[in-house]
Symmetry: C2
Subunit: 231 residues, 2 copies
DNA sequence: TGTACATCAGTGAACGCGCGTTCACTGATGTAC
DNA sequence: TGTACATCAGTGAACGCGCGTTCACTGATGTAC
């Protein structure tokens, strides 16, 4: 940062973009060669080392690049939803199963749509990230799992704050959130890879989430909570 | 098969075993070299070509090797469950949500336990297979997806035959089964990789399944079936 | 404003290495007659 | 029961190639004084 701060390093950007492009074709960052990458970026192989310590370093740079704006978008949306939520009468719409369905439905829908919007805007980063989740680099796996854990924590906080599942305690909500986040990421991947219908994918994801909400609340009401199942 | 049929090809076995061993460490079949593989198996690099056309071929051989006995085990268990099921009074235990909980619970539990048993017996094949699900080989991806689809179809058939979700039609049950199968595979992977508590993993998987059952049935009863959500 | 120096992003040549694959060969086992 | 032949699983040497990485260098930009 000794140079001017607002001029992005050209070569670095070029390498990251080339990595995404190639990883789409070769299906993994770890399958890329440094020479191959430089070739794609139109640079000398050696230039890679000017910007990155190695492939993991490049992967982390890409993750940082994509995750930050997504998390911010979701956070803004959540704040907006919270404000809107404050105007609806609390607990009045609590249904027979212990779910605030009247509020859970639109919030779920909105979250899923926003998520799919974002995914559709960054298809390459998303696909590559999902593949790297089980990839060979321990560093990238850890980083990506942390990303998912962060999203799950955000979601759990929202559910509690908006009081969507008033009968379930925080720990159970967190577990549910993890399941849901994983499912949303997986659904997004399928949406992008199979190029299937956007609306259908969203709807199925929403259905999945609502089923988990209702199922968890129902079981709780019957006294068959998640504690019974251990974990 | 011109030679004796009961003497398994020694080198072929050795290469498949070596591939599993190495893929555990390197995290992907596709990251293995042929020379590396032969070295691990104590064979000449060239011998690989006596048995396999390429890496995909070897991968398919491993998949065939593992999937067949698992599917047979599950089929046997399902038959046993069906016979046992015939002795329980049909529809008598249908609960308020439209789930035959009294039968769905034990069947779910048994299925999950059996699955985890099998997974624990073939940890390497399982882990490698899950990783290859998003791997670079189109051939292996297709094969593994077909495996999961087969399992889902089996499960859907069982649910219908045992009449566990009497209010849901076949198409919805199939979708549910796909979600559940994916979730069981994912849970198995986490169980194996993180070496976390067996009983806790099983219980969480069971809870997940039951929640989806109850959630789907409840929504159906309220007239908010999956059709409403599209897909 | 000039000047000297440091840093930074980039180049190009060179290294040694392990790789996939091929070729020609071997010995053991199975098959036909 | 022999004998001739085919097949099969394995060996070992050799090929050419692309790879990761290092070294020494360049020119542009920023910084200190």
């Amino acid at each position: 940062m000794t140079k001017s701060n607002n001029v992005a390093a050209f070569g670095k950007r070029a390498l990251m973009a080339a990595a995404l492009r190639l990883a789409m074709l070769r299906r993994s960052l770890s399958l890329l060669g440094i020479r191959e990458l430089a070739r794609e970026a139109g640079l000398n192989p050696n230039t890679f080392y000017r910007h990155f310590k190695g492939m993991d370093d490049l992967g982390l740079a890409i993750i940082r690049d994509v995750v930050e704006p997504l998390r911010n978008s979701l956070r803004e949306m959540r704040i907006a939803a919270a404000i809107a939520g404050d105007n609806t009468p609390a607990l009045e719409s609590l249904d027979a199963y212990g779910v605030e369905l009247a509020r859970a439905l639109p919030v779920t829908r909105q979250t899923v749509r926003l998520f799919f919007d974002f995914v559709a805007e960054h298809p390459q980063a998303f696909i590559v990230g999902m593949r790297e989740l089980n990839g060979p680099s321990e560093v990238l796996r850890a980083a990506l799992q942390q990303v998912m854990e962060d999203f799950a924590a955000d979601m759990a906080e929202d559910i509690v704050r908006l009081n969507l599942l008033p009968t379930l305690d925080r720990a159970v909500v967190l577990k549910l959130s993890r399941m849901i986040i994983r499912q949303m990421f997986q659904a997004s991947l399928e949406f992008l890879e199979h190029g299937c219908d956007r609306a259908a994918c969203c709807s199925q994801a929403e259905a999945h989430i609502i089923m988990l909400f209702v199922g968890a609340a129902s079981l709780k009401k019957k006294g068959v909570g998640m504690e019974t199942f251990g974990g």
